[in-house]
Every structure is written in structure tokens, then in C-alpha cells.
């Protein structure tokens, strides 16, 4: 038989394991297994439930905001102070406590050891502590809702001076708890993040070269590297701001007034904070985006029954985007009052980053080309992601280009852009990924009809929210406004559009209840999934048990990897897929095995 597979080898080509396996700690009690668990998969689910739980709070906050914007005279419980608190907490929770935690803590923990062919993370104990520190950060954040004055309303960017002086809601305990919570989050993340990086670098199984890693692992790995480098900038900013607020240092505070009175501050720079914040904040965009890029690549390849197109370009694009993301940060600051000459440099780097990003989009679409596309629920979300991401990515070219940014900055165009690219796109991938790996995590299939209803409502609903919103921005409607009053340039119909957007937002929010119902219901009544329902090639689908037990793989032997992760539709092969742990000469043995070697 003609052997034409890309990068496939035989057992003789692999080096033996270099290090003997360390025994895992196997707890006996329920608490040891499921509460103080050191199993990355349990930790992943803990992260996932916590992140989605706090994300639902942020979803409710967004609906409260939309009620005010859509129907400004109707809801007397929303005043300007708590409107800003909703804006702030919605943004911070979604970006940090939901998306970052879910992609890295959730999917990272679940998928890295399984996809690399490892029994667990290399430091299981630290991994456990990471989750509990994250939970503490979430609880501190939640506590700020209940302190006098409420949570901070400074906007998720927490710009000083307004974050710490009067005139902004939550400048008492609210802002302090916010800053402490972020510091605690970063400590927890660092413990997890070091684990993810070391596991990818050191604990890959025999034959799993870096260039045979699934793109999911590449995306999460690179995002973790970015996070480990970027979060310290946020950490020091938070510490400095706490000091400014509590003991009157002036890192970010110049001589100025507060509520009409002179303050004791002098000599600090608000712009310094913005540089530090965005030195973290821009890589943060990719901390969320790169795992989404990786996951969507794997979902596309699996359900299109086709190899990912241009794998090496995809890997190098992830690396290039990660590196470039550290030299584009000040594109968030074109109109911040920083030296305007910076604009030339940052506009150029920002538009350069569009090139590797575009390559990723082309390669996803070319993966569909001449594929054999199964429109399963995960696939719908994956293609929905491409559509949304193209839209959001292209509007980034408006805002990244310094001149075009001038009229659009701080308008609803910005809100529409970043929600399209950083909220809707990654969240579509989150849903796609949950539907994709749900059978592996639970051993059961989800309800496909409910999944499709969830997809259609979410995909069309979010587009109805955010696409028209760009045009409010063109008209000049500013963001972070509680109400608009009258101007010569904002049309009356803009208010009608706002009301329509609010209605769409409520529908999308309700659609998420369908998702939660489906996830819970299918735990009990979903039909048995089997080990590999999608006929996928990567190692997590080749485990001997579903859901995988502690230790992931066969107790005596870790799988060996003989090929890249995308052998779909290999000419001459019996099946339209060949798992990574099937050696080249065992093609014949693999023939006829629907469930692959795992069953043998």
C-alpha cells in the first residue's frame, strides 16, 4: 500500500523514553479525588465551572447595561454610579476571570496532558493550589459587590486617577478589592502557567515532537508564555495603584484636584499606568485568542475530515503573533495624550500583525476546501467563529491604523470591534470546544437539537448585536455613557437601534440557558458516546477509558506518537483518519477498527 502520509514514522524511528515514569498520587477519598484533587482533568472542570459561574454574573451585568441603554427612562434601579459598576465588572470578569481562566485553566488543564500523551501536569500539587488561589481571587472579586460603595466603576481598564479618587463609584473598598483580586489571580495563574509550559516542553510522550503537537496545544502553550510575560506588568501596576490609593504614593498621580479640592499627590504619570496596563492588556487579547485559534483548528480538521492546511505556517503564525503582540500595545493609546510620534511605530507593528492573523484565517478556510464537511454542532460553532473573527479582525484594521482611529476611538465602534473579536469569537470557540470534548469529558453525547438551537440563537443573535453597533460608532455615539441627551449628530433612530440591540442581547442571554440545560441534562440522559465518536486522531480520543481516569492512558504504557495530528483522508488508508499513535507499518492493523487501538 502506498504510504503517502505527511510526517509518519515507524517504531524504529522513535527514541526510547528518556526518563522513567514517576508514580502518581492516587487519593482514596471523595474529597481527595474531587475537591482537593491533583488530577488535571478534575482541576480543569473546577476551573470551568467556576469561570462559567462568574461569567454568568457578568452576563447578567451586561443585560442590566443593555436595559439602561435600550430603555433609558424605564429602569429606576440603574443609576449612573451602578451603570459604571456594571460596565467595569462585566468587562473585567469576562476578560480575566472567565476567558483567561477558562481557556488556560480549563481547556489547558484538560487537554495539555491528554494531547501531549502525559499522565498529568508535571507539578500536580502546584496545579491544585493554582485553582484554589484562582477561586480565592474570584471570591475577593465577588466580595467587592457587597462592600460599602460597591465595586469599582472605573472601567475595566482601571485608569488612574479616576480609579482611585472621588467622583468614580467604588473608590473605597471596591477598587482595593479589585486590585487585590487581580494580584491573587496572577499568583494563581503563574502557578498554573508554569505547569502548562513545563508540561508541554518536558512531558510530551515518545514521538510527540513539537511539530506533531495538535494546534490546540500550540495555542494554549503560546498563550501561557504570553501570560507569564505579560501578567507581571499588570501585577506591578496593581501594587503601585494600591500604594497610591492607600498610603498616598504618587506613581500614577500628578498634582491635581479631587472634587474641587487640592490633593497631596504630585509628580506621577497616568500615562505610565496606561503603558503598563496595555503592555499586559494587548497580549491579553492573544492570551484569549491563541487558544481559540488552536482549538478551532482542531475542531475544523476533525469535522471537515481533512488535514489542517499549512500546519507549519499555522504554528509559525501562532509564534509570530505571540511575539508581535508585545510591541503593539500603544495602539490602545493613540488618543491618550502620549507623544503622538509613537503612532507611526505602533500603527506599523499593529498592521503587520494582520498578516500572520490573515494567514490563519486563509488556512482555516482552505482546510474546508475539498474537505468532507460534517456540520456537527462543534463544526457550526467553528465556522461561525471564522465568520465572526473575519469581521472582528477586519475592523481591527480600522482601529489599528492610527488615523482611522481618531474619529472612532472611544465610540461604539470600539465596543463592537472588541466584542466581535475578543468576546463573541472566543466564546463561540468555547462552546464549540465544550460540545466537541463533552463526549470525552462525560462519556455521553449532548442533545444535538438543543445544541443547534443554541448555536443559531447565539451566532445570529450576537451578529445582530454587534454588527449594527459599529455604525453607532461611525455616527459618533460615545461608549461608557449612561445616557445621551441630545446632540446635533446622534440621530433619534440611534436610540431605536439601541433598543433593538438590547432586545437581541436579551435573546442571546436566554439562549445560554439552553446550553446550561443541555450540559446538565445530557450528563444523565445523553446517549453513550464511546471512546472516539468524532473519529479524531489526537491522543485524548485514544484513551482506554472514557472519561479518562487519573493517569489518562493505559496503566502500563504511555502511547507513542508516530505521526502529526491531522491524518484525515490519507490516500490508501482504510479509514478516513489515522490516530497519532498508529505507526506507519501498522496501517493494516488499524484497518477495520472503528474505535482504534484503544479497544485492543
Amino acid at each position: 500500500m502506498a504510504q503517502v502520509a505527511h510526517d509518519a514514522v515507524t517504531d524504529a524511528d522513535l527514541r526510547p523514553f528518556e526518563v522513567a515514569e514517576e508514580p502518581l498520587y492516587h487519593p482514596k477519598t471523595f474529597i481527595g479525588k474531587y475537591i482537593w484533587s491533583q488530577d488535571a482533568k478534575v482541576i480543569a472542570i473546577q476551573y470551568g465551572i467556576t469561570a462559567i459561574g462568574i461569567g454568568l454574573v457578568a452576563l447578567v451585568l451586561s443585560i442590566l447595561m443593555r436595559l439602561q441603554l435600550g430603555f433609558p427612562e424605564s429602569f429606576s434601579l440603574i443609576d449612573p454610579a451602578n451603570y459604571l459598576q456594571f460596565v467595569t465588572m462585566h468587562g473585567m470578569i469576562m476578560v480575566i476571570y472567565l476567558l483567561t481562566a477558562l481557556f488556560l485553566g480549563g481547556f489547558g488543564n484538560y487537554l495539555i496532558p491528554l494531547m501531549c500523551g502525559a499522565r498529568d501536569m508535571v507539578f500536580p500539587y502546584v496545579n491544585m493550589v493554582s485553582y484554589w488561589v484562582y477561586l480565592a481571587a474570584v471570591l475577593i472579586l465577588v466580595a467587592s459587590f457587597f462592600v460599602p460603595g460597591g465595586p469599582t466603576g472605573a472601567g475595566w481598564t482601571l485608569y488612574p486617577p479616576q480609579a482611585v479618587i472621588g467622583g468614580t463609584p467604588g473608590t473605597g473598598a471596591g477598587i482595593i478589592l479589585m486590585l487585590i483580586s487581580l494580584c491573587v489571580f496572577i499568583i494563581g495563574f503563574t502557578m498554573g502557567g508554569l505547569n502548562y509550559v513545563v508540561t508541554v516542553l518536558q512531558a510530551r510522550t515518545r514521538g510527540m515532537t513539537l511539530m506533531r503537537l495538535p494546534l490546540t496545544v500550540w495555542g494554549i502553550f503560546m498563550a501561557t508564555v504570553l501570560a507569564l510575560l505579560a501578567f507581571p506588568a499588570l501585577f506591578v501596576s496593581c501594587i503601585m495603584m494600591i500604594l497610591d490609593r492607600l498610603i498616598g504614593t504618587s506613581f500614577f498621580m500628578p498634582a491635581m484636584l479631587a472634587a474641587g479640592e487640592q490633593t497631596a499627590y504630585d509628580g506621577g504619570s497616568p500615562i505610565l499606568f496606561q503603558h503598563l496596563f496595555w503592555f499586559f492588556g494587548h497580549p491579553e487579547v492573544y492570551i484569549v485568542a491563541l487558544p481559540a485559534f488552536g482549538i478551532v483548528s482542531d475542531v475544523l480538521a476533525t469535522h471537515a475530515r481533512k488535514n489542517i492546511f499549512g500546519y507549519r505556517m499555522m504554528v509559525w503564525a501562532i509564534v509570530a503573533i505571540g511575539a508581535l503582540s508585545f510591541i503593539v500595545w500603544a495602539h490602545h493609546m493613540y488618543v491618550s495624550g502620549m507623544n503622538p510620534y509613537f503612532g507611526f511605530f505602533f500603527a506599523t507593528t499593529t498592521l503587520i500583525i494582520a498578516v500572520p492573523t490573515a494567514i490563519k484565517v486563509y488556512n482555516w478556510v482552505l482546510t474546508l476546501w475539498r474537505g468532507n464537511i460534517q456540520l456537527t454542532v462543534p463544526m457550526l460553532f467553528a465556522i461561525g467563529f471564522i465568520f465572526t473573527f473575519i469581521n472582528g479582525g477586519l475592523t481591527g484594521l480600522f482601529l489599528g491604523n492610527v488615523t482611522v482611529d481618531l474619529p472612532l476611538s472611544d465610540t461604539y465602534f470600539v465596543v463592537a470591534h472588541f466584542h466581535m473579536v475578543m468576546a463573541v469569537s472566543p466564546v463561540l470557540v468555547v462552546f464549540g470546544a465544550i460540545y466537541h470534548w463533552y463526549p470525552k469529558m462525560t462519556g455521553r453525547m449532548f442533545d444535538e437539537t438543543l445544541g443547534k438551537i443554541h448555536f443559531w440563537m447565539t451566532f445570529l443573535g450576537t451578529y445582530a448585536i454587534y454588527y449594527p453597533m459599529h455604525y453607532l460608532g461611525f455616527e459618533g455615539v460615545p461608549r461608557r455613557y449612561y445616557a445621551y441627551g441630545e446632540t446635533a449628530f446622534m440621530s433619534d433612530s440611534a436610540q431605536d437601534l439601541n433598543a433593538a440591540i438590547s432586545i437581541a442581547a436579551i435573546i442571546v442571554a436566554l439562549a445560554q440557558l439552553i446550553f446550561i440545560y443541555n450540559v446538565i441534562k445530557s450528563l444523565f440522559s445523553g446517549k453513550e458516546a464511546g471512546h472516539n465518536p468524532w473519529k479524531a486522531t489526537t491522543l485524548e480520543w485514544q484513551t482506554p477509558h472514557t472519561p479518562p481516569r487519573h493517569g489518562n492512558f493505559d496503566e502500563d504504557e504511555l502511547p507513542s506518537v508516530y505521526r502529526w495530528a491531522y491524518d484525515y483522508g490519507v490516500p490508501g488508508a482504510e479509514q478516513d483518519f489515522i490516530p497519532q499513535n498508529v505507526p506507519s507499518e501498522e496501517m493494516a492493523a488499524a484497518r477495520g477498527q472503528g474505535e482504534t487501538k484503544a479497544e485492543s
Binding site: 505527511h6 459604571l84 486617577p161 503622538p340 477586519l394 480600522f398 474619529p407 449594527p468 445616557a483 446635533a488
Partner: protein, 471 residues
């Protein structure tokens, strides 16, 4: 199939929405047409990519839908294709970036003939400064800013004496002249945005930023703050009036210089007592107000607020609305104050009247009122003592039924909407947070609790802070 159709509908729908959208850039009123051109170029490039890539994807979804009998094509890489896609993308990016950078070079290069003005932001107002006849701004220092010196002028700098200080949200610009607008903040970040001008920039305490432009269409344009600056952010609004040269010259001549402001008349309480004879009939000999006469307490109200309101009555910015019955009664009374000196005198006399908390007449849910007060207190002070720098008068210990009536007037656009009522606009917007019928009484009931317990301390403090404040 349904999915591919949905994708195609979304593509076509997006393009149609763009073409038919009534919401788009407001007509340009400055020289920055080049910015609109770069937006157009960006739209063409991104629009083509949007349609092409998504249409291709929709085609793939239809053409390569699942067929059990078929295999996908095994093609891991195609270097030629990948190279060309990269190259074409790079060209497209360059086509957008190049005009962007060229226009940005214009933006950072201020023409040498540009006039300079200064726009100053503070929570939640605008004020402006012109360099005066010598064309040079005097020195300012944030440390010098106070109620008496709101611009932080250095009194020893001779260049500052002729600076024109505009304590108002409204500034005028001459038509068709380049102007560099220096931006300065007294407190937090703000942003100076006039949508019709296209350019905007943050105001940052501790430094001076700038934009430049040439207004090309005469008219009035709102200035919006577009950098979150706290609770009043949405209600921080100014106005730019672009004038023909003659109108501009007239406006300019009417603006006071720093020296003019320093030389303003002082009030004389003895002379003021005579002027007050007209007021006694309604406001009472001690300025306590009388509900039967619909007159509020004025004793203890801050001088700057009395001055502003008396002037508003004089120029018709208050008391002219047909539905403002009681304001209409007040307006002719103010006309008896012949000039600025008379106004200063009567204010000085009112300042000598004893300040006792007014009787409370309104019942409401003070606890709920306290929640609402979080927003109000951001300007009026936590104890409702009033803060001059924020243009917010005292309310604690003042007449409660009058407060309630004024809040209703603000809500109903009876007060605050006159174009010369520079600060009433903001209050009218703010009064809208009192959405239900009880909210007014609740918040007034909370103000009454401040009046009973803390007004003495608060007003003593406020009195100390503002005594001798004569602008």
C-alpha cells in the same frame, strides 16, 4: 445547506446594511477630510476581503458537504499558494497603512500660523483660555488652582494678565483659521471630542496634549468627553461655536482678561441691605423663604450660585419658560438690581443673614434616597454642602419643597434647557436618573436627614472654604 445560505444572507445583509445604514459619519466641519478618505480606503480593502473570504467559505460548506462515499483531499501544504496569499495580504495592509501614516504625519505637524487656545477639563465641565493680545499664555500651575483661581494662573507672570479666561462650557473659534487646541485637565482623564471635526485627544492631568484643525463650516458643535471620567462623564458637555471673523471678534472682545477678573467689584453688605428691601416681601427678613409665597430659603446659599442664578433671571435664562410660573414671578424682581455692583451688594448682604436649617415638609424613603444620592453627592458633596468647583450648589438645610419642585422642573425640561443656562443642561440630564414618581421625594427626604444633623458642621466648613470667594 441552511448554514451556507445563512452565511450568504449574512454577507449580503452586511453589505446592504452598510449601504443603506442611516447611521454614518456626521457631516465634516473641519479640514480633516483626509481622515474620511482613509476610512473609505479601509472600507474598500476590508470589504472586499470580507465578502471574498466569507463567500469562499460558504461555497466550501455547500460544495464539500459530507458524503460518506467521498474522502477529503490530502494536501498538508501548498507553498506557492501560501506565498501568494501572504504577499497579497501584505499589499492590502500596505495600501491601508500608507495613507494612514501620511495623514498622521499631517496630524502631528501643527501649522506655524495656527492660533492657540486652551481647553481645560474638570469633573464635569469645560473651560477655556485664550492667550490674549500678546499671543502668549501666562504660566499656570495645578498647585495654584482654587475656587478663587480656577485656572491656576500665576499672578506674577505678566503674560498671564491679558489671557482671556472663559469660565463657561462654550468657546468660539474663527472660521477657516488653523487652530491648535492645547488640552489640560485639572483632575482626571478627559477627552476633547467634536464629532464633526474628526480629531480628538485625551486631557491628562500633569501634561498638556493637543490637537489641531481648521473649522470649515460655521455653526455650533457639541464637545463631548470621550474618556471615562466618573459618574458625571455622560453629562460633561461643552460647545464650540464656529464664527465668521466679525462675530468672532465681537465675542472675543467680550471675554474678560485675567486682570479684569482680579479687578471685579466687591460686594458691600450695607448697600446690599437697601437692595434687599425688594426681596423681603417674599424671602423674609432673614432670607428663610416662605412656602405660601413660593419662595425658597436663600440665607446660607453660596454666593457664586446666587450670582449665577440672579444673572440667569436677568438675561432670561431662568424664569422665562411659560410653564415656570414661579420663576416668572422672580424674573421682574431681579430687574430691580440695576448692575453687577447691585448684585454683588445684595449677595454680600444675604451672606450676613443667619443660616438655620429650613423646616422639612417632604416625607419619603430616605434609605432609598441615600442610594440615589451616591450619584448626586458626586457633585453636590456627600453632605450636600455644595462644591463650587463642580458648579453644584448647596442643598442641605435648604428648602425641601423647593428642591423637589426644581427637580421636577429639570425633569420636565422647564428648567435647564435654555441655551444660556450653561450648567442647567447637565442637571436636567442628571435629574433623569430620578425615573419613578417617588424618587424625587426619596432623595429630598435623604437631603433632609443631612440638613438636620450635619448641616451646621458642613456649612461652617463650606463657609470657611468659600468666605471671601469673589472670583
Amino acid at each position: 445547506m441552511a448554514f451556507a445560505v445563512a452565511l450568504i444572507i449574512l454577507i449580503v445583509g452586511s453589505v446592504l446594511f452598510h449601504i443603506l445604514s442611516p447611521w454614518y459619519l456626521t457631516p465634516l466641519a473641519s479640514n480633516w477630510g483626509m481622515i474620511d478618505t482613509t476610512i473609505d480606503i479601509t472600507f474598500w480593502v476590508t470589504g472586499i476581503v470580507f465578502v471574498a473570504v466569507n463567500a469562499f467559505m460558504a461555497y466550501c460548506v455547500i460544495k464539500f458537504r459530507y458524503n460518506k462515499e467521498r474522502r477529503s483531499e490530502y494536501q498538508p501544504e501548498n507553498h506557492k499558494l501560501e506565498f501568494w496569499l501572504t504577499a497579497i495580504t501584505a499589499v492590502g495592509v500596505a495600501a491601508m497603512l500608507a495613507p494612514g501614516l501620511i495623514v498622521w504625519a499631517e496630524f502631528v505637524t501643527v501649522p506655524e500660523d495656527a492660533d492657540e487656545i486652551e481647553a481645560i477639563g474638570q469633573q464635569w465641565h469645560w473651560s477655556y483660555r485664550l492667550p490674549g493680545d500678546d499671543g502668549k499664555f501666562g504660566n499656570v500651575d495645578a498647585k495654584l488652582i482654587s475656587d478663587d483661581n480656577p485656572f491656576g494662573m500665576d499672578p506674577d507672570d505678566p503674560h498671564g494678565q491679558d489671557d482671556r479666561l472663559i469660565e463657561s462650557n462654550v468657546v468660539h473659534l474663527p472660521l477657516d483659521r488653523n487652530v491648535k487646541i492645547n488640552l489640560r485637565s485639572k483632575d482626571v482623564l478627559h477627552n476633547f471630542t467634536v464629532a464633526q471635526f474628526r480629531v480628538k485627544m485625551d486631557l491628562v492631568p500633569g501634561l498638556v496634549s493637543y490637537i489641531w484643525l481648521k473649522p470649515t463650516v460655521a455653526g455650533e458643535y457639541e464637545v463631548l468627553c470621550e474618556e471615562l471620567c466618573g459618574i458625571g462623564h455622560f453629562a460633561m458637555r461643552g460647545k464650540v461655536v464656529v464664527d465668521e471673523a466679525a462675530d468672532y471678534a465681537a465675542w472675543y472682545a467680550a471675554q474678560p482678561t485675567y486682570a479684569d477678573i482680579l479687578a471685579r467689584p466687591q460686594g458691600d453688605p450695607v448697600a446690599g441691605q437697601a437692595q434687599y428691601a425688594v426681596c423681603v416681601a417674599c424671602h423674609g427678613p432673614e432670607g428663610k423663604g416662605m412656602q405660601v409665597m413660593n419662595s425658597p430659603k436663600i440665607a446660607g446659599q453660596e454666593d457664586w450660585y446666587l450670582r449665577r442664578q440672579l444673572n440667569y433671571y436677568k438675561i432670561g435664562a431662568r424664569g422665562a419658560h411659560p410653564a415656570d410660573t414661579f420663576g416668572q414671578q422672580m424674573a421682574p424682581m431681579v430687574m430691580t438690581l440695576a448692575d453687577d455692583q447691585a448684585i454683588e451688594d445684595v449677595i454680600a448682604y444675604i451672606g450676613t443673614l443667619p443660616d438655620e436649617p429650613a423646616e422639612t415638609t417632604i416625607a419619603g424613603d430616605a434609605e432609598r434616597g441615600e442610594d440615589i444620592w451616591v450619584t448626586c453627592g458626586a457633585c453636590h458633596g456627600h453632605e450636600a454642602q455644595g462644591i463650587k468647583a463642580l458648579n453644584a450648589p448647596r442643598m442641605a438645610g435648604m428648602t425641601d419643597w423647593y428642591l423637589a419642585r426644581q427637580l421636577e422642573n429639570f425633569k420636565a425640561d422647564i428648567r435647564g434647557r435654555h441655551e444660556d443656562d450653561l450648567y442647567g443642561w447637565q442637571m436636567a440630564e442628571m435629574a433623569r436618573i430620578l425615573k419613578d414618581d417617588d424618587a424625587v421625594n426619596d432623595v429630598v427626604a435623604y437631603i433632609n436627614t443631612l440638613g438636620e444633623t450635619q448641616v451646621a458642621a458642613a456649612s461652617a466648613e463650606a463657609g470657611a472654604a468659600y468666605s471671601g470667594a469673589e472670583e
